[in-house]
Amino acid sequence: MGGFVSRGFRSRRRPDAETAERLPPGQYLTRDFPVLSAGPTPRTSLSTWDFSVVGALPEPRRWTWDEFQALPTETVTKDIHCVTKWSKFDTVWEGVSLDTLLAGVETDATHLVAFCDGGYTTNLPLAEVTGGRAWVAFTFDGAPLAPEHGGPARLLVPHLYFWKSAKWVRGLELVERDRPGFWETLGYHNHADPWREQRYQGD
């Protein structure tokens, strides 16, 4: 908090108590679904799409689109929070849990780097993407995920700012040392917890 009063500023849409409780600091509630990305939207054919887990594990794992669809899926309802200040409540996703994708992996890795069509990357601590906290989602609101929202599949890590939920994700590289991704090397926070308002480096 902190800050000084700006003359004449008053709330025009103060959230109700329940909304306020669910909104991390500095966020506001939106009902639409803004699109943010740094470059053109990649379009990958499902016939060539695959998902892999590579890096610090004995044998890389790889699934084709059909194999991926055959994995056990979960449908989850989550609040999401974008560093550009909007939050959206009760978003419904279907996808494969990272617990499933990483099940039984023997690794010394501490982190992963998600890699994507278009070259985007983002880094996450392994401990924060297991235990039912992260998914590779391929539907939103019951329909196939639209390309501008990251389709055919995106990472979903709802407890962190949404740039960590990498669009167009194609795999996870397990790494033994943390390696900052795209926005994490361009001034944004390495960890990105919205409840601690970790927007930018140094926050």
């Binding site: 008053r10 849409r13 939106t30 990305s37 909007w86 070259g119």
Partner: protein, 255 residues
């Protein structure tokens, strides 16, 4: 250029909230206003970057929003050009309520990808929709302040002639500079005798305005999502490399 300051221990310093004083307001269009700020302690910025604005009401309620910086690094005052969103709470405050002498909090600069300086080379291709012109205007103004630089072309989509932000300034810059071209398209209404484009940005228009890719070309598109998606997809189809097309969205959300 500006780097985030790094403290001795190697931990980056937190971007501090700064007290910004409203120095002037410039009406740009019926819906858009530029607010000029004096910001003691401002560390400088690169064209294309943005700031976070934080407002506090007397009862302690706070609201934050991000706004692109429209002024070039060479300017002494920081310019935010704000489109008024009817149901917003920060944009109407900035366009309607603030007056010179008022204080707001801001911090920045933020964003290290959607940026361009003359040192980055070109040709520079800019596609703007509505108030999405703001960060691109910082690039155009920086290029002019630097005395030219690589050729630059701005394709700017507005709903009508009266809604073109920076219209006269852009016209003046074009007259003064052979290396700068500005092409308008007016999507909803056109003035009598208008011979320019009168439709949404599409592949044919992008091809006519920008031509095929040349070495060094770099494109920046900023505006509403449909325009940015269209422009980025069509520039790819024209042969521009994906890593030379940078995008930023100004959605209807927020305010």
């Amino acid at each position: 250029m500006v780097e985030l300051e790094t403290a001795v221990v190697g931990q980056p310093r937190r971007l501090p909230w700064l007290a910004a004083t409203v120095a002037a307001k410039i009406p740009e269009t019926p819906e858009a206003t530029t607010v000029l700020f004096d910001v003691p302690g401002w560390p400088g910025h690169r064209p294309g970057q943005h700031v976070d604005v934080r407002l506090t009401a007397e009862d302690g309620y706070q609201a934050q929003r991000s706004y692109s910086i429209a002024s070039p690094p060479e300017a002494s005052q920081l310019a935010l050009t704000v489109q008024r969103l009817g149901d917003g709470e920060v944009s109407p405050y900035l366009t309607d309520e603030v007056r010179p002498g008022d204080l707001i909090e801001l911090r920045g600069p933020i964003g290290g990808y959607f940026t361009w300086t003359v040192a980055d080379g070109g040709p520079l291709l800019l596609v703007a929709g509505g108030s999405g012109v703001a960060p691109l205007m910082a690039m155009v103004r920086h290029r002019a302040a630097a005395g030219g630089g690589p050729p630059a072309t701005l394709l700017y989509s507005s709903r009508s002639w009266d809604e073109i932000i920076f219209r006269d300034e852009l016209a003046g810059l074009v007259v003064a500079d052979d290396g700068l071209a500005v092409v308008h398209t007016l999507t909803r209404s056109q003035p009598p005798g208008w011979t320019g484009y009168g439709r949404r940005v599409d592949a044919a228009m992008l091809g006519e305005v920008f031509g095929p890719p040349t070495a060094g070309a770099v494109a920046y598109a900023c505006g509403p999502t449909p325009l940015v998606e269209r422009a980025a997809t069509d520039l790819l189809a024209l042969g521009y490399a994906p890593d030379r097309i940078r995008t930023e969205r100004f959605g209807p959300s927020g305010g």
